[in-house]
């Protein structure tokens, strides 16, 4: 190697070897004699990391700012920090070498690690060389001469703008309802296959209702749809479902997975503190889906909402302005331990930034950009430099050297504004806002009082209960001891005499009762649980503070440097902001400009958002249509939904993908239009039966010779059970519904007098995920979830078979069935089938169900026996494959 050229010399090989071994070995082998010219970019990152917390942007201890050569020469109260050419006379180095700076006692407090010998040496050399400076290198994004990314790299299919293909001619043109079918059929026919027959109407309405709203159709809706003579009945059904507010609650979750939504901070600390205002972002997403907000606008708001319009000087805060800011919560969703810990280090912050980069690149761009954090990407033309240029895009808002943390360290003279901006009710006048605040205080104060009352009453009761436990224990002791022990128990520790103190030591375990001991009594345990529920429900009623968790540009980004091997202290070259070079060209540029005249914001993310939503962008539309497709058909056209790079899977039907991607933009980036197109196609309306031909020629259904049989997702299952039971509280938006965490780890949503809310509204604290969602594959958000996996495990069977909430819901359902269908067992069974499965039972099912129901009626005790039997039947149906699988 290289082929056809002179071999590398030994010296070249040695250089490569030492480079592979890493920086340190290079410096170790030749430390002192090194006099390679340095520039400010070798020194500034060191000073930013070690010194700038106290001598930088927000704070100039001793009047000193160490962020530039000029400010170092200017110095602080004690004079200039550096003397050009004379490191030994430079005050800064004197202090460092004396071990005074950075001050060891304050390292932890300010989140700084000591400066290393190698770093000091660099500073010495730079000063000795006269502190040379260079102009920043020109930005290379979009220029064809980019040294690291060749034109050949741009030839890869997913880096080229999709071109709208013509639908192909097919034999089974009678099955073509829209171009999707032509593209699918053309692949099928090449294998001598065709689409499977169309499913019956009962199957269709169940399928499309679950798909678009996450809930089953009501029996009446099924009946009406099946009986309808309207040739467009199905299309109208799709329109109605798309218009339902339930649609956003179903499809919002799809986006929340990608964003990595959680109601808690998570991260490296286990306290997992709540994120009390995250829900406003969740609500924004649900509203965006319901309003069919164009996807390009949706992205603009989430990536650069703070740079879309001047919210600081707006005469009135409109809904749009508010949405812009709430949307930026997208870039605040990563697990973030720096929020709860006042002390955090540059490393921790860079990890948070890396998670945000991963979230946006895996979800929106479909690229594994994160791989380039430590080295050039192994497969894709993403040099490590591009990762850090991408990081620089966010530097105005996510700056590891100017970190935003909601805590103040006033003690140390440090102040960080929070990660929060005020929430303002759109259009409200100042008077109205004051009134809101007054009301909030009043309501919450009253609730506090109420909570305290409940808590105190319970504490008192616990005290009594504990006394009773002690009394019981004393009673089991020898008679002559009992009286002494009683006296001892009644005497406070500090008033005990010597004998009592001796006794207390001897009977320590007898006298010690904690809540767990009292809870041994199931009745007490139950009451403790209900007290906890009451308190949590009272807290739930409290009006949240008017805040949003937002991200905004602060107008003074630190310079960004490549970090060799991803190590936060191995500084490489200075980089300018920009997207991956391979995704730029003359038509697809990244241009930074101030968002509006006079704005201090950098406009870097706005430029990114504009670049991403440029019609020429080869990935943005393909990635989203592929994801939507996957959620309808179980598998993407590109199977690796989060990787459109070389290590991903190529599209199984590239023309279809490009048709959808271009059609999506043509329809104004409308997700609803795309889903209308998909769900009204013949492809979508096929049966899910696996025919022998389909099995033989299209075993894994890559060609879509049938609809896949699908299992309900955790949210759908939970919502459906609650819905069938008539206990679904369809309140939209707002604070997350609290959960009860039992000692054994069972997490159950708490019922209010209106029932249970949809799963999307249940608290998603990372450490307290509701058991049903955890068992049914809701993944941990780390930082987000680009694709859920589906497991079939016995924990799911155990949940559905034994969980108390499921049984409760079966009992509610039984009451509903009895109420609505009368007392005839056969009629009850038919009604239950129509309700839960969207169809009447077939004769075999009817027979089996009836036999069992009659048998159960005999087995159940007399009182309420019929209802108990019916409840058991409902519970069995909830466990059946026909219920949980969607044809």
């Amino acid at each position: 190697m290289p082929v056809g050229k002179p071999h590398l010399s030994d010296k070249d090989l040695a250089t490569i070897a030492s480079w592979i071994r890493g920086d340190e070995s290079v410096t170790k082998t030749a430390p002192k004699v090194d006099n390679t010219p340095l520039t400010q970019h070798d020194v500034i990152p060191v000073l930013l990391t070690r010194c700038a917390v106290c001598h930088g942007l927000r704070r100039q201890e001793g009047g000193l700012d160490l962020r530039s050569k000029a400010s170092m020469l200017k110095g602080g109260k004690s004079g200039p920090a550096i003397v050009l050419g004379k490191p030994e006379e430079s005050l800064m180095l004197k202090r460092i070498n004396a071990g005074e700076m950075p001050p060891k006692q304050q390292l932890i407090v300010v989140g700084v690690k000591p400066i290393s010998a190698g770093e000091t040496e660099k500073v010495v050399r730079w000063i000795r060389q006269g502190a040379p400076e260079v102009e920043p290198p020109p930005a290379v994004a979009g220029t064809p001469q980019d040294p690291l990314v060749k034109d050949k790299d741009r030839q890869f299919w997913s880096f080229q703008t999709p071109v709208r293909p013509e639908p192909p001619q097919v034999q089974h043109h009678d099955r073509v309802r829209n171009p999707i079918d032509a593209f699918v059929l053309s692949k099928l026919e090449a294998k001598h296959l065709s689409l499977s027959p169309e499913a019956d109407r009962q199957t269709l309405i169940r399928r499309v209702s679950f798909d678009l709203t996450g809930l089953p159709p009501e029996p009446g809706e099924v009946k009406e749809f099946v009986a309808s003579k309207d040739p467009l009945a199905y299309e109208k059904l799709v329109d109605r479902l798309l218009a339902s507010p339930r649609y956003g609650e179903r499809w919002g979750r799809f986006w929340l997975d990608l964003a990595g939504y959680a109601d808690s901070e998570g991260g490296k600390l286990s306290a997992d503190l709540p994120r009390p205002f995250a829900f406003r972002y969740r609500d924004y997403v649900i509203r965006a889906f319901n309003d069919d907000k164009p996807y390009n606008r949706f992205l603009m708001e989430q990536i650069a909402g703070d740079e879309l319009a001047d919210y600081e000087h707006a005469p009135v805060i409109t809904q749009e302005l508010m949405d812009n800011l709430i949307a930026t919560g997208f870039l605040r969703m990563a697990p973030d331990s720096t929020t709860e810990r006042e002390v955090n280090f540059v490393d921790d912050r860079i990890d948070v930034i890396a998670d945000e980069i991963e979230t946006i690149s895996s979800s929106v761009m479909g690229l594994t950009v994160k791989c380039a954090r430590c080295h050039n990407h192994k497969y894709d033309p993403l040099p490590q430099r591009d990762y850090y240029r991408f990081k620089a895009v966010f530097q105005g808002a996510l700056d590891e050297h100017d970190w935003v943390s909601p805590l103040t360290l006033e003690k140390y003279g440090l102040y960080f504004p929070g990660k929060y901006l005020p929430y303002v009710t759109p259009g409200a006048t100042p008077m109205q806002l004051l009134e809101e605040e007054r009301k909030r205080e009043l309501v919450n104060k009253n609730l506090d009082v109420e909570i305290k009352l409940v808590q105190t009453a319970w504490d008192e009761k616990l005290k009594d209960l504990k006394k009773k436990v002690i009394e019981k224990r004393i009673a089991s002791q020898p008679k002559d001891l009992q009286e002494d022990l009683r006296k001892l128990a009644a005497t406070p520790a500090e008033k005990r005499d010597e004998v009592q103190r001796y006794l207390a030591q001897k009977f320590e375990t007898l006298l010690k009762v904690d809540t767990a001991d009292v809870k041994q009594d199931p009745a007490v345990a139950q009451e403790a649980e209900s007290v906890e529920k009451r308190i949590k429900l009272l807290e739930y009623k409290a009006i949240p503070e008017p805040k949003i968790r937002a991200l905004w540009d602060r107008g003074s980004p630190s310079p960004t440097y490549l970090l060799r091997r991803g190590v936060p202290t191995s500084f490489g070259p200075f980089v300018e902001p920009g997207p991956p070079a391979v995704l730029t060209n003359a038509k697809l540029t990244y241009e930074v400009a101030p968002p509006w005249p006079g704005s201090e914001k950098t406009g870097r993310r706005l430029a990114l958002a504009k670049w991403l939503t440029n019609q020429e962008h080869p990935l943005t539309s393909r990635v989203i249509v592929n994801r939507i497709w996957k959620h309808h058909f179980g598998v993407g056209i590109v199977k690796s939904v989060g990787n459109f790079g070389k290590a991903g899977t190529p599209p199984t039907n590239p023309e279809l993908l490009d048709f959808l991607a271009t059609e999506f933009i043509r329809q104004g980036w409308s997700i609803k239009q795309l889903q209308r197109l998909i769900s009204t196609s013949s492809t979508y309306r096929q049966v899910s039966t696996v025919s022998p031909d389909s099995l033989r020629l299209d075993g894994d259904n890559t060609l879509l010779s049938r609809m896949p049989l699908r299992r309900m997702e955790g949210e759908v299952l939970n919502d459906t059970l609650t819905f069938l039971a008539g206990r679904l509280d369809e309140t939209h938006f707002g604070k997350p519904e609290p959960v009860l965490v039992r000692d054994d780890g069972l997490v159950t949503p708490i019922e209010t007098d209106k029932g249970w809310r949809r799963s999307i509204y249940i608290s998603q604290r990372r450490s307290e995920i509701p058991t049903v969602l955890d068992n049914f594959d809701l993944p941990p958000m780390s930082p987000n979830c680009i694709e859920r996996s589906e497991s079939t495990v016995s924990l799911q069977a155990l949940y559905l078979s034994n969980n108390t909430m499921v049984k409760q819901l079966a009992a509610f359902t039984a009451q509903r069935v009895a109420r609505e269908s009368g007392s005839d067992p056969s009629a009850q069974i038919t009604y239950l089938y129509n309700l839960a499965l969207g169809r009447p039972p077939n004769p075999e099912e009817a027979k089996a169900s009836l036999e069992t129901l009659l048998k159960l009626k005999q087995l159940e005790p007399k009182k309420d026996g019929d209802l108990a039997a019916l409840s058991k039947l409902c519970h069995t149906i909830f466990n059946s494959a026909g219920f949980i699988y969607i044809d």
Binding site: S270, S337, T689, V690, A848, G882
Partner: protein, 494 residues
């Protein structure tokens, strides 16, 4: 390996069906072959399916997999010691600390301290060290029972990790990186090897009834691996597995009526939906759920042990009872073919920032006797040769005193640069002491072993090459050892 274990009766459903009918029902589900191999070794022999550990599988299951090479260990019991046990007070004697007691040392450790304002001078150990066994291994008098089994242990004194705080250090030791969200070692092991007993979870976590450890359930999560590889938390009191039994029991007739109907309905459903493999998997999962109730209860029933055994572990003594029970359960689970058992203690009993002598004694009192008994018991039952027992925490402690209120209450702060842990059993060179720290115990200096080295070594003992046990994550072949360079610590292997 398949022949040696587990003949615990046929699962409940099997007796009601002919063998043929049963296999027809489950043989093409994802659990099918696994169940088959458990139920009928003679039919399928000992050979499992060829290993496919390359990161791509059509479906994920817990079937036993053939490892990369012949393994030394078949199962693991990880006695996790939350908090960071102090190496220089237990296993790594430092006479120089006695000599320089009270002298300043702050500058050398400042960068790693979480509480610099509380730092005192160097601090000698309050415990007396002695040499034990034929190997002459040093153990302090804080652990009187462990001294009886030292000749079965290999001690690594040169462990080091990457972060001085509990949470990241826990992520590191459990999952190979200091960040959350990655699969834990146990998940990787059962992903790679599956498990021998399909009627019990492959990866069992026995947590402390008194509370979860720091990082909570993240200590046994599957991360980006499919969720079936996450640890199953089994409670040593109350219902061992969530939803294992209904809170309000039904009569067996009612249970049976429900099960029979469910089975009939599922058969009707399946009949009209041929070739839908997931339906078989689901039916199998219900069978397993029903079996689990029986097998789990038996496996965890400590009362089946002899009184001599109970006494040896310390069951009945309020101080040791809880941990002793979990140690016995661990042994019973391993005996039944469970691959990976991990024991936790509530909060962080080894996080001795204050009252060093008092609190370390208390922590040892809870665990020392049960741990020593576990090693002895496994050995006398012939289980130790196939089982790897690991004892250790997430980092070590500092040679200097940490004083919030003066020397009387002093303890030691976290130290990521050195800690000691030990391993015993399968494939371990017993009686070995490996690696060394500097003369004060602050930093590992000789034969250093990183957490990643340690992970690679454990996988090696299980017959797996750490570079080949990979999972394809969106085009990236990720592994337990992540991107770090590492080595197998051959010097402690037999």
């Amino acid at each position: 390996m398949a022949h040696e274990q587990c003949n615990h009766g046929s699962p409940a459903g099997a007796s009601k069906l002919s063998r043929r009918a049963f296999f027809d029902r489950v043989s093409d589900g994802i659990y099918g072959a696994a169940l088959a191999s458990v139920l009928s070794r003679d039919l399928y022999g000992a050979s499992a399916e060829p290993a496919t550990l390359d990161g791509h599988r059509a479906s994920y299951d817990l079937k036993p997999q053939v490892p990369h090479f012949s393994p030394k260990a078949k199962s693991i019991i990880h006695l996790f010691m939350n908090g960071g046990p102090s190496q220089m007070d237990l296993f790594d004697p430092k006479p120089m600390l006695d000599k320089h007691h009270g002298q300043p040392y702050f500058d050398k450790v400042a960068a790693d301290l979480t509480t610099p304002e509380q730092s005192g001078g160097l601090m000698r150990s309050p415990f007396k060290f002695g040499q034990h066994g034929k190997s002459g291994m040093w153990v302090s008098d804080a652990m009187p029972h462990l001294t009886e089994v030292v000749d079965d242990l290999a001690m690594i004194r040169s462990m080091h990790t990457m972060h001085p705080n509990h949470e990241p250090a826990l992520f590191m030791i459990q999952s190979g990186r200091i960040i959350p969200g990655r699969p834990t070692m146990g998940s990787w092991v059962v992903y790679g090897l599956g498990t021998e007993n399909q009627n019990l979870p492959a990866y069992v976590v026995l947590d402390d009834p008194l509370g979860l450890p720091v990082n909570g359930t993240q200590n046994w999560q599957a991360g980006f691996l499919p969720p079936i590889y996450q640890g199953t938390r089994i409670r040593s009191t109350g219902s061992p597995i969530l939803n294992l039994a209904p809170e309000t029991p039904e009569t067996s007739e009612i249970v049976q009526a429900g099960r029979q109907l469910l089975s009939r309905l599922d058969q009707i459903h399946k009949k009209t939906r041929p070739n839908q493999l997931q339906l078989d998997a689901r039916i199998a999962s219900y069978e397993l759920a029903a079996n689990l109730q029986m097998t789990a209860s038996d496996a965890l029933d400590v009362t089946k042990e002899s009184s001599e055994t109970l006494e040896m572990y310390g069951v009945g003594d309020p101080v040791t009872d809880s941990y002793a029970r979990r140690c016995i359960m661990a042994r019973r689970l391993i005996e039944r073919g469970v691959r990976f058992v991990q024991l936790f203690i509530n909060s962080q009993i080894w996080d001795n920032h204050t009252f060093l002598a008092r609190d370390m004694k208390a922590a040892s009192a809870r665990t020392d006797k049960p741990v020593a008994a576990l090693v002895k018991d496994l050995k006398r039952r012939g289980l130790l040769k196939d089982t790897l027992v690991i004892w250790g925490g997430e980092f070590g402690r500092m040679p200097i005193a940490q004083m919030e209120n003066g020397m009387e209450t002093a303890g030691r702060d976290h130290n990521p640069s050195a800690f000691t842990l030990w391993m015993a059993g399968a494939g371990i060179k017993a009686g070995t002491v490996y690696g060394a720290t500097d003369e004060l115990g602050h930093e590992a200096v000789e034969n250093k072993v990183s957490v990643t080295d340690w992970h690679a070594t454990i996988l090696h003992l299980l017959g797996m090459d750490y570079q080949r046990l990979v999972f394809d994550q969106n085009g990236l072949k990720d592994k337990l050892t992540s991107v770090f360079d590492c080595r197998i610590v051959n010097e402690i292997l037999s």
